[in-house]
Amino acid sequence: MLRDPLLPLPARISERIDETADTVTFHFELLDETERNAFRYLPGQFGEISAFGEGESTFVIAGDPARPERLTVTTKRVGAHTEALHHLYAGAIIGFRGPYGKAFPVAEWKGKDIVIAGGGIGLAPLKPIICHVLNQRADYGRLTIVYGARSPGDLMYAADREIWAKAFNTELVVTVDKGDANWKGREGFVPAVLRATAPKADNAVAITCGPPIMIKLTLPVFKELGFPAERIFTTLEMKMKCGLGQCGRCNIGPFYVCKDGPVFSVAQLQQLPQEF
């Protein structure tokens, strides 16, 4: 008998990390043995998380694709559903549907340098790329990560960042818009810090995610550094409900962000009507 694709799979939260005041990372595992072992996903794919009784929302799977049995999502408290999610702790049952969407074309990037510019919670969709690159380090060239957040308290993935800082042929630059008393790192917006870091553009790919204003100011910097539009990637945020390309909500022109995205190159975005 056909299984309803809208039916969530039960999963148990194994670990909860309060990254910032309003952002929480959940590590969870699918309860069903066979589903857990068969589950695979690629960087950039997303899933629908359910806090039972409050509905569902869309989150990118922000874990390490090489360990698919341990799923991860980073959620910011912005509405009723995320509020309900943030009341849950390790051991609680949530629902999961996925993986959905087209992934970042990591296979095509083999042999290229990777430049990543993330802002605030925008680092979540980029983390699987970094994990993938570090797992297959030899396949990729220089990895440059520029990560910015509003304040030191808003910086996420502290543990992961320590690993990235020490990784081979990898440059990690962390900045904050405004530091506080004991902040000794850089201060400045991501676009400015990116221009200062000046990663080389030839044979390199750029990926950026973050609040719309940051994307708007970062793309020109990438162009300035010589990155062509088809080698700059981002992932779009649209309201999604089904994730299957059926509920008709997340379209930009004839393309469904959940099915034909959420990953788009800037070249593709330029052809789309500016309705996102």
Binding site: G55, G79, A80, E83
Partner: protein, 285 residues
């Protein structure tokens, strides 16, 4: 009527009193009467006014129109515009009311609408320009009290049954909200989910909740233009509930909605002498 309406609009353009005019025109293809926004004097020749102009244009007034904007208004539409000005949507000088002498409109094309049969104000209280013969306007054939008499006579149980049956067909398409000139909340209570006051799916409880809170939010504001009931694809008589409340508001607060310009919504004011008997039941002091 059409001729003098067009001349007046052209004069308003010529005198620079308006930058755009919201009115009715007969659609060249579908032959139906639709709203139109004209910004050039020569387009005024498409403007018409007759019994087919059932729609209330006050909802179409948005801030991004070239201001000052002229608007062709019937009696009820004019009250709606007056209420919107009272509530601060527009400044008085941004609106030029082109009041037409409206004998009544016919949504079905044959008989006067029920709302027009009891209309006591055929010309808009807000009138910068008046078009048409104001003297030969029909007297109301029935009153609001008669319309709600049969509900008033029912016992509570009968009334509850009546409304359960009346709201049953509602599919929550919210056309009644979208065509109402005074339904202008940024986020409607139906779209709020923290807490979820009114559930999205059609069922007896959410239907009743929606129509009750809708009626409450129009108490003392509804200008009785009847567009909500006319727009409903399922013919739900929700405007009846507004009329019931309007009767009470006028009796309690002596406030006729949309008539006096600048009057405040009864809930934005209070009167120390408001009697305690309003609360019902035995009270001291």
């Amino acid at each position: 009527m059409n001729q003098s309406l067009r001349e007046n609009v052209k004069r308003l353009f010529a005198e620079g009193k308006v930058k755009s005019v919201l009115g009715y025109r007969e659609h060249p293809l579908s032959k139906a009467v639709v709203a139109t926004l004209i910004t050039r004097p020569e387009d005024a020749d498409t403007l018409i006014f007759d019994y087919r102009c059932v729609q209330n244009l006050a909802r179409g007034l948005t801030r991004d129109l070239p201001l000052p904007v002229g608007i062709v208004v019937k009696g009820c539409d004019g009250r709606a515009v007056s209420m919107r000005i009272t509530e601060g949507d527009f400044a008085r000088e941004q609106i030029v009311a082109i009041a037409v002498a409206c004998p009544g409109v016919k949504a079905d094309g044959k008989t006067f609408d029920e709302r027009c049969q009891r209309c006591e104000m055929h010309v808009s209280p807000l009138a910068d320009v008046t078009v048409g013969d104001v003297s030969a306007l029909p007297k109301p054939e029935k009153t609001r009290a008669e319309t709600i008499a049969k509900i008033k006579a029912m016992t509570p149980a009968e009334r509850f049954e009546f409304w359960q049956k009346a709201f049953e067909p509602c599919t929550h398409c919210y056309a009644c909200r979208e065509v109402c000139p005074l339904c202008n909340c940024v986020v409607c209570v139906t779209d709020q989910n923290a807490p979820r006051w009114i559930e999205q799916t059609a069922k007896p409880s959410s239907n009743l909740m929606w129509h009750m809170i809708r009626a409450f939010h129009h108490a003392g504001r509804c200008v009785d233009c009847g567009e909500c009931q006319r727009a409903c694809p399922e013919g739900v008589p929700m405007h009846l509930l507004d009329l019931c409340l309007a009767e009470d508001v006028e009796e309690l607060f002596d406030f006729e909605t949309g008539v006096k310009q600048g009057g405040k919504w009864p809930f934005l004011l209070f009167n120390p002498e408001d009697p305690d008997s309003w609360l019902g039941g035995p009270h001291r002091g």
